[in-house]
Amino acid sequence: MKYLEEYRDSSAAKEYIHLIKDTVSRPWTIMEICGGQTHTIVKYGLDEILPDKITLVHGPGCPVCVTAIELIDKAIELAGRPNVIFCSFGDMLRVPGSNKDLLWVKAGGGDIRIVYSPLDALKIARENPQKEVVFFAVGFETTAPANAMAVYQAKQQKLNNFSMLVSQVLVPPAMELVLGSPGNKVQGFLAAGHVCAVMGYSEYEPIAAKYKIPIVVTGFEPLDLLQGIYLTVKQLEENRFDVENQYSRAVLREGNIQAKQLMAEVFKTVTRKWRGLGDIKNSGLALGDAYSAFDAEKKFGLENIMVKESDECKSGLVLQGLLKPYECPAFGTKCTPEHPLGATMVSSEGACAAYYRYRSHQAAKID
């Protein structure tokens, strides 16, 4: 497979493991930001074959996991309304709200449709002028340009029956939250390649300098991750703290300028609540004033739904790399993919779900 098998080649992987072994002299803790990277690491067992001196901790970059529980409750409330077609990416459907999930609403007759692109939701809005079509716009900087495009086009085409429930989040403020935490153990970051394909990586340079921490923009295939880890370890051993780009086949320093312009046109930066982490300043995107007519929260009067999160779920600690999933007392007992207490157990990118799916035999051995 072009551009797929090459990045999963076992002999090249073994060479990188050797390089890392030859380079590392002290224990280091590295955080991969993105849930997609966590998934690859656990799926391919990369953490098992790395030298013991390297500890990987899993970051907050799973959009499903960090979407605030009240946004899920708002989605559930909207999706159950008779005149609404609610469109969402697939893995949001199983995320538990306060007392049910979107699949539950779907089984109860709610018109919920899985789409692959927000533009599909726009098409549904055109085809169903008598219905209100709401798209659940979640994600990091990766999904923001396409979501911005959907609203932009809706405004151009005067599609007044289209709106978005927006829960866009941004990576750099979450990194600063992790670094600023008193218990922080993270000494190096693998930045999320696809986020950087949109945003570039110049915004990480001040973070690397301020916290004296190496940041390597890294892709999602096993070899990408091994190379990213190697570059990070090399910086740590050489006492450097630069921003480096492992994922140069997709990422430019300035990012995708057109995408960023569109995001700036449609969105504004706001304080956003993250599930498990709470409010983080300037960490979210909401629709700008010129597009507020397309804001589902305003349109349907959902702004006042507030929910308290369960204390039992320790996903906040997991998302900051302070707790391994199997160290949580509820892991695999009270909390399983069938009965998730928190979203890190739901999405395939969630650290808890990844450990449960690929490692529950080993977690048991650790006990």
Partner: protein, 358 residues
């Protein structure tokens, strides 16, 4: 497999903190389907034949051993590259019988047709039922037709049941597998699921991916005729290779280890899975099966299976091992040796495979 200790009573045994309504995932072949089977169906209907949890029931009547099975087909779209609901309805039931080690003989076909369905389309379905039955060497000997109101069905649903004759004394079942047995797969996986999803979602690829839908009774008969004594046979339908192997491992209480490098997947299929965020191990097939055979017969069995499918790669993909200790005790499980040499668990999916965000 866990013991089911509770009594079946009038109150619904699925705890109320779980879904109060049926989700699509209850029919998806994953954990929710198994929950229905274990908590509702098995306790309600319990008997020796059902409890063996095979693809079909094995019935001894006088000196005769029969296999009996049923399946319903609700595919959308009805016509897809490589087949249609008619080919599925025949081959799916034929294959369930073949997996019991039976020679399929007779099928029933029940049609539930939605008001307004075109006679022309019905004729196409009937013809493909006829052609598939001829190809699989079975007769359609009884049937039923019902029509439901417009909007109450999805064009056409088909139920088919089948009877086959078991002409040997082998006990082909997950409970018969032994450590050291080899697992043979009769071709690349994931074609059917991707063919369906591609036509459902309007995805197009450089070359069309066709369903692998095909009868398996021919190849199974060849194995038996050659003196191969398979310990277990299982066709890989919804839930894919992973789910089938997990079911076998859990029923047997043994570990099954498979090698990622040995599992054939077409480039187009792995590419489509990558785009859709799906794991091909869990994607449906309709013409693939695993034969779990004694170590000493593995190479011979592979040759026979390969000779029956000259245009694709058949492989020994793994083996049966003594169980690993996990979750407080020994239990059957499936592990995978990855391409880069590490090992991971293959778990049953909780619900439908849902496309990922990014």
């Amino acid at each position: 497999m866990q013991e089911n200790n509770y009594e079946f009573g009038l109150s619904c045994p699925i705890p109320i903190n779980e879904y109060p309504n049926i989700l699509l995932a209850h029919g998806g072949g994953g954990k929710l389907t198994h929950q229905l089977i274990e908590k509702l169906f098995l306790p309600a209907f319990k008997n020796e034949q059902l409890n063996s949890r095979h693809d079909g029931a094995v019935l001894e009547i006088g000196d005769m051993k029969l296999a009996f099975t049923t399946d319903s087909y609700v595919v959308k779209p009805l016509f897809f590259p490589g087949g249609d609901i008619g080919t599925l309805a025949v081959n799916g039931t034929v294959n369930d019988l073949a997996m019991c080690g039976a020679r399929p003989l007779f099928l029933s076909i029940g049609l539930i047709i939605e008001e307004g369905f075109s006679i022309d389309a019905l004729w196409r379905v009937v013809n493909s039922l006829k052609d598939s039955a001829a190809k699989a060497n079975v007769k359609i000997v009884t049937g039923d037709t019902k029509v439901v109101d417009h909007g109450k069905g999805d064009g056409i649903f088909i139920n088919s049941s089948g009877v086959g004759l078991i002409e040997h004394d082998l006990n082909i079942s997950p409970l018969s597998i032994k450590p050291g047995d080899k697992i043979i797969l009769n071709g690349d996986i994931g074609r059917h699921g991707i063919a369906i999803m591609a036509s459902r979602e309007g995805l197009t690829f450089e070359s069309t991916i066709e369903s692998d839908c095909a009868p398996l009774n021919g190849v199974v008969q060849k194995l038996l005729d050659a003196g191969i004594e398979p310990h277990c046979l299982r066709d890989l339908t919804r839930g894919g290779l992973a789910t089938s192997l997990i079911e076998i491992a859990e029923t047997s209480g043994l570990t099954i280890n498979i090698e990622e490098t040995e599992i054939p997947i077409l480039e187009q299929v792995s590419g489509a899975c990558e785009i859709l965020g799906l794991d091909p191990l869990y994607v449906a097939n309709e013409g693939r099966f695993v034969a779990i055979v004694p170590y000493s017969q593995a190479e011979k069995a592979l040759k026979i299976i390969q000779a029956e499918s000259p245009n694709r790669e058949c492989r020994i993909i793994g083996e049966v091992r003594y169980p690993d200790k996990a979750n407080g005790g020994f239990r059957g499980m499936v592990t995978l040796t990855t391409k880069i040499g590490s090992s991971r668990l293959i778990d049953m999916l909780s619900g439908e495979q849902l496309p990922r965000i990014c």
